[in-house]
Symmetry: C2
Subunit: 330 residues, 2 copies
Amino acid sequence: MKYKAIQLIKRPQAEITPDIFKMVTLETPELKKGQILLRQTHMSLDPAMRGWMSEDTKSYIPPVSLGEIMRSSGVAEVVESRHGDFPVGTHVIGMMGWTEYAISSGEGLQALPAGIPAEAVLAVLALPGVTAYQGLMNIGKPKAGETILISGAAGSVGSIVGQIAKAEGLHVVGTAGTGEKCRWLEHELHFDKAINYHTPNLNQEIADATPNGIDLYYENTGGPVQHAAFARMNTFGRIVVCGMISDYNTSTPEPGPNWIPIIKKRLKIQGFAMPDHWGDISELSQKVAVYLLKGQIKYRVHILDGLESAIEGINLLFTGGNKGKLMVKL
Amino acid sequence: MKYKAIQLIKRPQAEITPDIFKMVTLETPELKKGQILLRQTHMSLDPAMRGWMSEDTKSYIPPVSLGEIMRSSGVAEVVESRHGDFPVGTHVIGMMGWTEYAISSGEGLQALPAGIPAEAVLAVLALPGVTAYQGLMNIGKPKAGETILISGAAGSVGSIVGQIAKAEGLHVVGTAGTGEKCRWLEHELHFDKAINYHTPNLNQEIADATPNGIDLYYENTGGPVQHAAFARMNTFGRIVVCGMISDYNTSTPEPGPNWIPIIKKRLKIQGFAMPDHWGDISELSQKVAVYLLKGQIKYRVHILDGLESAIEGINLLFTGGNKGKLMVKL
């Protein structure tokens, strides 16, 4: 059976351009014992992919090799099986890449319970949810009554961070790039306050929204929000550095704040990346599912149609053009 | 009995100038029950004092009030006693301030074992040693074989950090401001390498001295070493922020590095201040004493003579002019 896949054939310069990808047609081989054939139904597009495309060997997982199928996670159905744990009809989540079909030994795949839509899996239970939980709960260690500021709060991770923080009793403030996103955060997700970071009075608006200062800053963006948040940190404040999306596509990233407040306020700043925690994904995912099943996590999805749409569509993540968790329906 | 003391009467602007202090003559009162009279013999001068002079309420302990005797730690002898735990002749360490005599209830004082010279107490067992130990061992959590870079390595804290790190089996590199200090670090303290940060090739010299990258950066200074060190950090590197002495006396501190490497390398950056750990001082001091008694910690002292010498002498800490742990002999 023939299927389409997309290879990475060049490293991006600053922006992601269509010429760095190549669409290829492949043929499914005969399955060996222990193998399964997966038909991917939903493919996730995430900001971390920008790092996977670059040759920077200091990144947290090896880059995608040139000529290799572009890396991504997705939801798939087992359509042929020679593996006892994955009978035909099983739905799984895993790193299948930009492809319609994939052969797997089952390694790194997780079977999904029936009845949870693939969209909810990718938007909440998969990378966004476990990233949100790991950063907020295991690194940030929030306490009820504390104030959290989240940059990129309308993003797939930020929106879940805010809702878990709300469920845990924090005062939750977020920043986002449009008035529409801010209204969604306040009215649908019940953030205490959402601020459009394009305001000319960013520092003042953040100060007004955090009358007791900031105990926890969840960093998804970098940029001006970082400096305003840093200046509002309380003593023993924690900063969880999850993303710097406003700086990923530039060759001249902005400087960070001076470190004197790190001493004066005894701040802890910690970066993390989910590949370090893949062994805990299943446990983390179950913890996120608890909030989801209680109705404490709402989500929006932005669905692109067909494998090829990923090539241009991934840039929506960097322009802020996506209106929810970005994914491709195959 | 009459004695001299020095009050803080103004906040410093950028630099510490003599007009912010006032020498006063006081008289010792009659001791009440539970009180002791202390004659201070050695008074410590430390960089943290710059923060104690400022009104910045975000600093880690309250500033010295105007009109109050300037705060400092020191070694003293009990010369009169109405307190059973502190008989006449006991040597103690504690926060006595810029004064020749002090009345105390004993609170916050620690008795010193006989036979350890006051100079060693202030240079190693007191603030420098416990600060070095807390930052290096409890926050930095070093492992044998790792590489540590220490800025301000010839300073009272940095020189002990390097020697404890060496005793713990690390590859130890330090930066300092003069060739003489670098030679002392390499030849007397057995640092693997010491680099004069005034070199025009700072980045290259740091790279050459840390062929396996930097696992642990112990920050005492800020400035150019910070940027060079940050760029050399390894994955899962830790940065202990103990001091930013090159920025304390300026009103326009330099920006820090961009935060993208915090994610890519999953760095942890943490500030600390000893007043948070005063409950552990005795235990920390005992841990430092072990290295001292094994001959693993050498120290130099720079002794000023007489109470009044503190007024000008404290600036040696900020110009780098001191040739060892700075203290005043009374």
